[in-house]
Amino acid sequence: MDCQEVHKFVHAYLDGEFAEEDRVAFAAHLANCKPCSRIARFEERFKEKLRASEPQASAPARLRARIEGVLAQAAQQQRGGARRRWWTWRLVPALAAAGVIGALGVTLGGREKRADPQTLAEQSVRWHRRQLPLDVTDSHGDAIRRFFRDKVPFAVRLPRLANPNAKLVGARLTQLRGHEAVYLTYQVGAQRVSVFVVDPRALSGGQDSRIQWRGVHGYNVGTYVSDGTGYAVTSEMDRRRLVRLISHE
């Protein structure tokens, strides 16, 4: 492999687009070639700078309120009778002409394939999205712990969250990868955060206290072990904010 090839594909390598075998070979070249490794390091730092340059723009509250109102209206229209129906359907040709409808039918496969058995991250995201009814609604950790004391074979230690506005909404008994787990749901501002408290053996990282991250279907899942308890944290919140929320060291 010559350096010219490496220069061409360094972006694809850093963007994580290589299959394992190719990635390893590329990394091996970098390890043995100082000029190429300098280029890779520069591009990597540049990429990180690009990511960090993005301001933490939160959607303004008024936008959230507008969306809720507008969606409620749209729902109303769709539920409406024949009299209103023609109004909605009139949009269809316009949107088709705009190329939106045809496009929307396309499946976005992305990197996630449905693998059997599902990974822990995929299961966490599934449970997070389903928003199933809770077994217990209480914002006090003690009440939650007491509730589950005889129901799971481990102590339900709540995660230490850095944000004082993180509100515990409630919990539910569930399972992850065959292990019994407690699903806690938090409201952090306008976003939901699910925390699965589970036997550390359910996690693939062993007793690693460092957080392991995965992206699944646009959600972030962080898993780690703390004080002998395993946690899987899932949210649509961006990774940076999520890291801040659960970093307790």
């Binding site: 694809a12 209206q73 729902a75 190329g99 939106v100």
Partner: protein, 221 residues
């Protein structure tokens, strides 16, 4: 306006979509470069998403699906308003970052590190905003929102090869712009051309095919 009572599927959809609102708004801001326009764009996109929510395939990436609607809505509006940004002519010749990287500055620090340290986030954001729409879109989708090439190709409706090419060229363009800016302000030393070098050749053409890389390796085996 009083909140109307919603049925369950609507509530679930709304909760999911609103969970991604911050990311959608951030993307809309980069696309429109205006706060009010960004809000309108997000609203238009989410209404469309709601109306055609049955076209969303379960267990696929809903964030990418929402981003696709947002991006398409933006480009449709841009086309309608005839507000097409003139493509900046790319000054690709002369930007040889390989040469730039192989030089050493007098302070002993690598020149590329000086450059990276000298550029502020604000300046970088400005440079990104100055990129043509389709360059800016792929850079933000890749480096800020972490979508894969395949997902980006779906979102902007072009082949993966085009995504790779646009990413390569837009990053190079940013680097050159920032380098020139830094040299102008004396933040990094200007580079003298290597002695006895040939006239500037156009920089290497971008890779557009990951398969080519794999095939090349097979050949070498």
């Amino acid at each position: 306006m009083a909140k109307r009572k919603q049925d369950e599927p609507t509530r679930v959809f709304e909760a999911e979509a609103l969970g991604h609102l911050d990311a959608l708004y951030a993307m809309a801001l980069r696309l429109t470069r205006d706060e009010r326009d960004a809000e309108d764009l997000v609203q238009d996109a989410l209404v469309k998403a709601f109306r055609f929510r049955s076209s969303y395939q379960p267990d696929t990436n809903i964030k990418a699906w929402l981003f696709k609607i947002l991006t398409r809505t933006f480009y449709n509006q841009v086309r309608k308003a005839k507000n097409i940004r003139k493509l900046e002519t790319e000054a690709e010749t002369g930007w040889h970052y390989e040469r730039f990287i192989s030089s050493a500055s007098s302070s002993g620090l690598a020149t590329e590190d000086l450059l990276l340290d000298a550029i502020s986030s604000e300046r970088l954001r400005e440079a990104i905003d100055e990129l043509p729409d389709d360059f800016r879109t792929v850079v933000v989708l890749c480096d800020v929102h972490g979508f894969s090439y395949k997902e980006i190709a779906e979102i902007v409706d072009c082949p993966v090869g085009t995504v790779m090419s646009r990413l390569y060229r837009s990053r190079r363009q940013l680097q050159k712009k920032l380098h020139d800016y830094a040299v102008e302000r004396g933040l990094v030393p200007a580079l003298a051309p290597p002695l006895g070098s040939a006239p500037e050749a156009p920089s290497a053409s971008p890779a557009t095919d990951l398969e080519a890389y794999r095939r090349q390796r097979q050949v070498e085996k």
